[in-house]
Symmetry: D2
Subunit: 364 residues, 4 copies
Amino acid sequence: MPGNITGRLLRLASFGESHGAAIGGVLDGFPAGIAIDLAFIQNELDKRKPGTASFSSARQENDQIEVLSGVFEGISLGTPIAFIVRNQDTRPEDYHEISKAFRPSHADYTYSMKYGIRDYRGGGRSSARETLVRVAAGAFAKLFLSSKNIYIQAYTSSIGPVEINQNRSEIRPEQAGLNALRCPDPDAVVKMNAYLDEIRELGDSAGGTVSCVISGVPAGLGEPVYDKTEALLAQAMLSINACMGFEFGTGFKAATLRGSENNDQWDWPEDAQENFHLNTKTNNSGGIQGGITNGQPIRFRVAFKPVATIQQDQPSYTTEGENIVLPAKGRHDVCIVPRAVAVVEAMAALVIADLFLQHKALDK
Amino acid sequence: MPGNITGRLLRLASFGESHGAAIGGVLDGFPAGIAIDLAFIQNELDKRKPGTASFSSARQENDQIEVLSGVFEGISLGTPIAFIVRNQDTRPEDYHEISKAFRPSHADYTYSMKYGIRDYRGGGRSSARETLVRVAAGAFAKLFLSSKNIYIQAYTSSIGPVEINQNRSEIRPEQAGLNALRCPDPDAVVKMNAYLDEIRELGDSAGGTVSCVISGVPAGLGEPVYDKTEALLAQAMLSINACMGFEFGTGFKAATLRGSENNDQWDWPEDAQENFHLNTKTNNSGGIQGGITNGQPIRFRVAFKPVATIQQDQPSYTTEGENIVLPAKGRHDVCIVPRAVAVVEAMAALVIADLFLQHKALDK
Amino acid sequence: MPGNITGRLLRLASFGESHGAAIGGVLDGFPAGIAIDLAFIQNELDKRKPGTASFSSARQENDQIEVLSGVFEGISLGTPIAFIVRNQDTRPEDYHEISKAFRPSHADYTYSMKYGIRDYRGGGRSSARETLVRVAAGAFAKLFLSSKNIYIQAYTSSIGPVEINQNRSEIRPEQAGLNALRCPDPDAVVKMNAYLDEIRELGDSAGGTVSCVISGVPAGLGEPVYDKTEALLAQAMLSINACMGFEFGTGFKAATLRGSENNDQWDWPEDAQENFHLNTKTNNSGGIQGGITNGQPIRFRVAFKPVATIQQDQPSYTTEGENIVLPAKGRHDVCIVPRAVAVVEAMAALVIADLFLQHKALDK
Amino acid sequence: MPGNITGRLLRLASFGESHGAAIGGVLDGFPAGIAIDLAFIQNELDKRKPGTASFSSARQENDQIEVLSGVFEGISLGTPIAFIVRNQDTRPEDYHEISKAFRPSHADYTYSMKYGIRDYRGGGRSSARETLVRVAAGAFAKLFLSSKNIYIQAYTSSIGPVEINQNRSEIRPEQAGLNALRCPDPDAVVKMNAYLDEIRELGDSAGGTVSCVISGVPAGLGEPVYDKTEALLAQAMLSINACMGFEFGTGFKAATLRGSENNDQWDWPEDAQENFHLNTKTNNSGGIQGGITNGQPIRFRVAFKPVATIQQDQPSYTTEGENIVLPAKGRHDVCIVPRAVAVVEAMAALVIADLFLQHKALDK
């Protein structure tokens, strides 16, 4: 099952190498009858576009999406939605010297060992350019989810050692879009920018974390046992380039808490008499219990490592065993976390939309 | 896709409620010709058995596995391996009072909202008793992997606030089996036991973390993009009851590091001249780059929350909105982390065996 | 994807060798809240039981089903339904001489070539005894479908050269249960019995066809392109032991017709004004157009070859190349067609129930 | 699981409406290192092109394939192979009057009932134009199979009532390419052409059958139980537009034979002493026993109904219940059987290549 297709009822088949003719995807299982706002889709893509801030790659990616099928007179047909983005501003000559060498902490070596062949131009299929496909598909999923009043908001919660205010009540995730770092804490933004300036001058790179809140999810969504909501979210997040970890609710901190601290007590909402449902007084469970949603916001956090490409000479080996030095060059992000915000949202949207459809199949 | 079947080429179908007639599984895709040591399988099951230490549930689970198919004269046939374990020592009367109420941070409420019906006896399908199926199936996977010289070793790396020695070179994971806490650091074991005694007296519960090392995995295993090795491991781990987080390699800490700190430099092994392969000088990548293994040990860590059932009265609501108090009773673990070690190993074994077969399909 | 698991949203994992400890299945995705009548399930199993007529094997298969999970107080839980049937009256000694030889037109040789090992007792996994699992799972699917007013009726439409009345209007499929041959045409039954007596005296075997009608299926069910309703039915039927062909609607005869003869003209039902739908004046399409149901009865026909085991000496070879003669013995059916009627119904029920759930997922 | 993705290890995601911007596919799981001859791919596409003979549609489909990914310097990368074909010569105005009516025996009505919306232009997604995607993907599969010495040859075996010589030994399937009817029997070709001339003058249409031989398949391929080789072939064939039936080996005729007539006796090949394998003296099993290949050629036959669009006025209804007459017009084939030959081959290639990879995963 070569991993370029994901999802169960809503499935995305992704294709494309970084410097090939085009990248794109086929989204099968998208419900019929949804209004498709192409400007919204393009706007989502623009959010992950590099080159819009000083911490980003200078590669020009004026990525224009072309939808090839599945939409008729502005409405989804229920048939596969295919889309492509032509690759532009490719500079394969930048990569010639790595055609027989292996960059540290990239996938050059592992792809060579797996396939016996690789497209060395910009990492080929292993390039984070593939996340463009995710964002496009996720934008369609968002259109479906918003028709069900489900909304997804991710934001930068740390860059390097700089974290946002840990008092969650003072954070407005929806303000993430106000700055290029996609961080809703203005004080942190100042510090993050200073840190990134420092890192750039060192020719180094930075990691960080992205947090995400999904609101409007009804209780009862998700599947049990192996396909728990958090399990599918974890797979989706760890599949993003450079992702190193996932936690939901109290996450890793839960390991240090006591049951009496971590348990969420039930609350009886005023309107439960007419239409039975319960709330929780806290949301340490991150909106999920036993793999199934409880109606509270789903909350999770994702860790990204620093970009492997740095503006420093790095030693390596060729396939013939020659010890060489990979020079500092190329067009790369100092920190991909702000661009990853859009990718986290997109993957979350695909997972939740898929679970929504799966739930519908078995619901009364 | 109701989530009781997992895997791609090696697939496990799991069944059973905590207090039903039996639980068990069907393992399809297990290769033919592997010697099946039933004593080994039973021994793996015994590792997750409760009641063997003071922090464990007093429920007697003398779980004897019966293999119903797939093995002929001690050798796997290539046909599905089915196994069952009869449920014993069930006390459904313990659960009568929760039949119309919802325990905090359990799946009682979410299952009711999803299915409109639930087996309230011991949590029914949402019970961690299902992990027995995983351990049994994982034991078969281990037999296959050991025929390929791949070995999996997990261990308790923290309980509550007590962590093991962070100097990895002083830890011998294979010593995890020497004590009931399955912790390879004797100093930490003393502190963990003291902490658990304290928690038990408070009628409370504790969480913790489990770390895991997979050795012998050749370079080139794993699938790209959506089914990256770490993504499938993350799904597998987050599907375990009470799991709240997953990280691999430098994990969440990577978010605070610089690229120059986190990158793994290549090393040229002496025997690479004859048979090309590379090593890394460090293993911050946790054995995986671009989703595909690089031949170094796979390393990951998993967080478990404290057990939701505690020996303290907890308020709740019935379906009719009656505000009730759930009394402190029942037979439950103070901390499931030591028992979860076997489950983490089993899920890792299933994932890696599956990826091994998938790789073989496309390998030359 | 070793083929022991089938289905998409409603999935069946099957296990068991003919002479192993037990055979059984796990049915995942069965909706919650359906009343489960175990007597009905057992009665369905009895329909495929051998030994009830002179054309059947003398092997006693008093197959008693045990349901291990998924049903609580007579209602389905939405969790996996596992069931087993213990194998009884096994006589492995009957099969010793084929342990190193290959019966003509059986799977002995192909299984040996595939797996390098085989359970030679009664064909092991390749035995038609596995169809018991299908009938049990299909019985659950029928319970679900009847709650939606969908009904499935198959019947013997030919045995050897003896065919039923081709005037469809004179056939009442629901009368199939009135005789052991499961044939609704009393005149044909007389001729079929005479033919089977003749074949039995010759120590030979007979094939035949099974026809099937599915009524009550709403228009709009089924998936397009690769998973057309007829495509999934064809896979399901061809997966039954000894099945050699499938056709629906006018089937192979359609290849000889003209478009003007084969097209189904539309009809406007009286009640279409309130609730739009159309009928067809003929049903040459067998209830399916473009892979999707049109509301007319689904009609298809399946061909079964004569049983490969016959009461005549047959030459063969051992793995060492010794030319041997397999003697005429063993307990086998002269014709499995009447028993296959239950299997055809069961597989049809699984396919339609699965498509029903899939449709629900994407329906408004 | 909306059915636009097929396959297990080798998966094809198909997209595109008949008169949309483009149609195409993504082929995931194609092995790395295979030389890709684009001229061969284009030539396969040309085989299904209409307009090359008098029985074909006059629509100009100068379909030029563009490969967007997965091939680097003429070699497959192991990454997804995406390809598109732009739709040209579309005349949506031809279809305006069916936008609110339903053509007999087309999918207009069923798609409307399923999706609540349809692209009425040329049948939209239900158009046989989608088979172009299959032929392109199948061409890639053929390149892989030929590297394993596996070859697939289909041919027209009947058109309307005209059948080819039933003496199989006098038919050379590889001569199918010598005429536009893709029929290897010159005598039958004459009669078929005469029959088609007659049908065309009547403004009617004809059906027919396609036979297929797959040679070079090693013994031991295929999966047991639900995914038998014949079951996957049957699904693949019945998924082709207008296909009404499938049979393999002796097929429907087997239902009339006796076991002693239908069984294939084993034969001991001269070279079996060194490398054990068996032949059969006849091939009534069509190369498959118990779902798994036995090393003999795989033989099957597929029935196609006459084209539903005919050059005769046909009555129908609008969604408002208006009784209208659909006039005879449009550009359509009198008989699609000769064009279906390429589609049958392509689907067979995809199935066998997929089974080849699946077998490899579990083979020693």
